[in-house]
Assembly symmetry: C3
Homo-oligomer: 359 residues x 3
């Protein structure tokens, strides 16, 4: 593999997370997604408008303008566009040329998230958006964080798909016990355009976090289960008393945490990474909520530092060969899925250059 991939174009025929529904209000919100300048706002009826953030007349970012009814008025020369991107007013003239319009994007609001489709609108199918019911189910309590990472989005996928980094990068936060960690049963498989990774730790002493947070006292079974598709990675971690059936599908009670990672490409070299963390135990303990949130923020800050160092080094010499190892199995599945999706969009495939077979 070489870094050439990271300079590959974006998978446009895809749904990406813009943010939480609560982030999109009546006031214009500017966001760059897949290097497309976009602006979002909510109409009076509650619909989300998603437009190219560049006036069709002279290119001024529309997000700098003002709302007027359900329209947006450009701050430069006063042209007004409706939520479909059609120009509805040109000061100084009656007739409005049909070419005076800005692109609008399909938007869907689901599970408290706003999703935008960056590609061919005819192919936008809302039923393909992942379901993540934990944001709206009152049995769960959750928090959200977001960081900007100076790295191509695929390197964030790589990071999340290979949990072997936990004990090195996150030694000071969630790293865990390396010896125990290496006993994990790991399985990585590809299912269509998804990568599923399971990491099971059977019958181990409950670590301090588990004792403290979830009240475990004896030995436990733990799981870390990932479901990845481009733009989204769901991470389900949990634990139950050992040998009570966690790995046979019996997961009632115990500790359950549902992490949601939105990996939204901003530019080729920057990524907006939004994460939520939901739990269904001790949900009325706000102190615990805050504590768990802070731990997550610190953890992702550790990732950010490593990712930016890694990416800057690789960008210096995009042809430098890289070598895969066993733990990269899930990573390589994801890289191949992205390559195939790019191929399907007739883009330079950015195919991984394997310099060495996995040992």
């Amino acid at each position: 593999m070489s870094l050439q991939q990271s300079d590959s174009p974006f998978v446009l025929n895809n749904w990406y997370v813009v943010g939480l529904g609560a982030d999109v209000t009546a006031a214009p919100l500017a966001r760059r997604i897949c290097n497309l300048p976009m602006m979002f706002y909510r109409t009076d009826s509650g619909e989300v408008a998603a437009l190219t953030d560049r006036c069709a007349h002279r290119g001024m970012p529309l997000s700098k303008g003002e709302r007027t009814g359900d329209n947006i008025r450009c701050i430069y020369h006063g042209l007004e566009f409706n939520s479909a991107g059609v120009c509805v007013k040109v000061p100084g003239q009656e007739r409005i040329p049909a070419s005076l319009r800005v692109r609008s994007y399909p938007v869907v609001e689901k599970d408290a998230l706003v999703w935008v489709w960056t590609g061919d609108a005819a192919k936008a199918d809302p039923t393909t958006i992942v379901s993540h019911p934990y944001h709206t189910d009152p049995a769960w309590v959750w928090t959200r964080g977001a960081i900007e990472v100076k790295a191509n989005w695929q390197f964030l996928n790589d990071n999340l798909l290979d949990l072997s980094h936990l004990q090195y990068v996150h030694k000071k936060t969630i790293g865990g016990n390396p010896e125990e960690d290496q006993k994990a049963e790991v399985k990585a498989e590809r299912v269509g355009s998804k990568v599923m990774i399971t990491r099971w730790l059977r019958d181990m002493d409950a670590p301090p976090f588990h004792r403290h947070v979830a009240g475990f006292t004896g030995r436990i079974d733990r799981w870390q289960e990932i479901e990845f598709r481009p733009g989204v990675l769901e991470f389900y971690s949990g634990a139950m008393d050992a040998n009570t059936g966690a790995f046979d599908g019996k997961r009632v009670g115990g500790m359950h945490i549902r992490h949601f990672h939105a990996i939204t490409p901003e530019t080729a070299h920057t990524t907006r990474y939004m994460f939520t963390q939901a739990r269904n135990f001790r949900t009325d303990n706000a102190g615990l909520t805050e504590k768990m949130h802070q731990l997550t923020v610190m953890t992702f800050e550790e990732d950010r530092a490593v990712l930016e160092e890694q990416y800057a080094r690789l960008r210096e010499d995009p042809d430098a060969p890289l070598v895969n190892i066993k733990v990269d199995e899930g990573v390589m599945h994801a890289r191949r899925i992205v390559t195939e999706l790019l191929d399907r969009e007739n883009k330079p495939s950015g195919a991984p250059v394997l310099t060495n077979a996995v040992a």
Copy 2:
């Protein structure tokens, strides 16, 4: 139209404003004009020298050096150049190679302004420099401001040539009443390499500014008249009591303000914008002078913010189509003049790509 124009080369066979005469003193002044590094200084006899700001020996900026008599001495190895750019001393040797010279530029001082010719010296004709007598006529009082704008110079032309932006961009300063404004009689025409725009407002209630500053009490006729040529835009605004002949050439008394805008390209992507504002009424009121100056500075700061946002957005995607509207008539005249002048210099024309006829 697309942004491709903005990356077009500069019109070099042209006079550009360096600054006020008072800006050029015995000490070296460094300025980049049309991406040419230049340095200016005034000799003992008062002439202005304009030289390439790069020593012919090893490239050191001469502006970092010291004056010695009417010459400039390079700070690095001590070579001395006279005001014509000829090397007159080389430490350590007697004979001075003829190739040891830096380019000098034709310079003219006129109307309290220093003008430099960036092109073929043989074509420099001082009689083609615009006359702006208000800086030196004691009947007028004036102030000067200057800002650096991170945008190609043609976008500053565009801004000034389409006054429909006033009511949007300058809502908080000089914007005026949109309803009244839209009644303006606007005429834009091209005369040779000039664009003339007149904007007349007949028989309207005097706005607060006019009442307060010029003592109008009843209805007035107002005018905003622009004369543009590459590098300079003169803007004449004024008012008289309604129906006293302002539009038939009778403009004695009333309120007269002469704005001078020097739009000097710095790099392809930055522009030095110097402006003066002269008036011939209440000239002894220093408080009014200061107040009017501050209003102008605030107004141009609003322009700068919009221009930089616009230009940054357009630079991201120079091929993004833009659509002209009616108010762009003067803008398009100016763009065509620049294109023709570039053609005359055998440069890529940067011709406007019209994606839609003016509606």
Copy 3:
């Protein structure tokens, strides 16, 4: 000559100074040399390891990792490399692919300096490293300084090889008397891949520095003698009572200062410049040591300012012609040596484009 040279590749088959021996400890030290990201550390037995600062697995800078015994562990996924760059541990697997290694570089420690060979290891011959015994001879006392200069390394060579700049750039520090200075007998010659410059000032009044520091009272003979080879410039300055044989090889007693300049290319446009200054008189006077060190630091800061201005100006227009003068004789020898060495490495020669013969 034009700036094109400055964008020429690096002479890789060469020894470059990394720093003092004391700079390299057990903890990883990151340095970029000839645009190669490198990391250095000292093993328990005291050897210096020099490795490419990019993990063979996913490109993470190894310098961010931790030492484990004599190995370095990558912070990202925990791979371990020994001091020869061979991967000795891959978490999660037994077999280690042979391709999992990072390049190691020949390193030599000599005269209290760490030297690295950036080119073909088979050609690295430690006996070609210059000898500079003053760092380890107890009869000498010395100090060290280092600055980062935003200029291509060859411009630092130029600066040091033409001492005529002293009286202009260093007027406020070590500039000296221009009139006396111009009486210097200067000889510049090339000997193989070295440039030797001698600058002798015979029978002159001792300047204030010489009186104050070395106790001269009458007339003196002074010398400034340079020996340059790519990466290193030794500068020997000194003085003795006039007509006591200084120029016939009798140099016992008097004032002797041995300057060592390591000019280590960092990127094509930045250079790490480390200098030491050794003297063998009044060696127990710490106040004098500090004073002389501060003077040197101020002097090189003056050079840095000029070099960065010069280089920035030249980079704007790499084809701008430059003209050589007499004092450039040593400079041109050095430029030719570098060009020949690049030719030998089959790199674009970056040959000087002489626009004018030396006058």
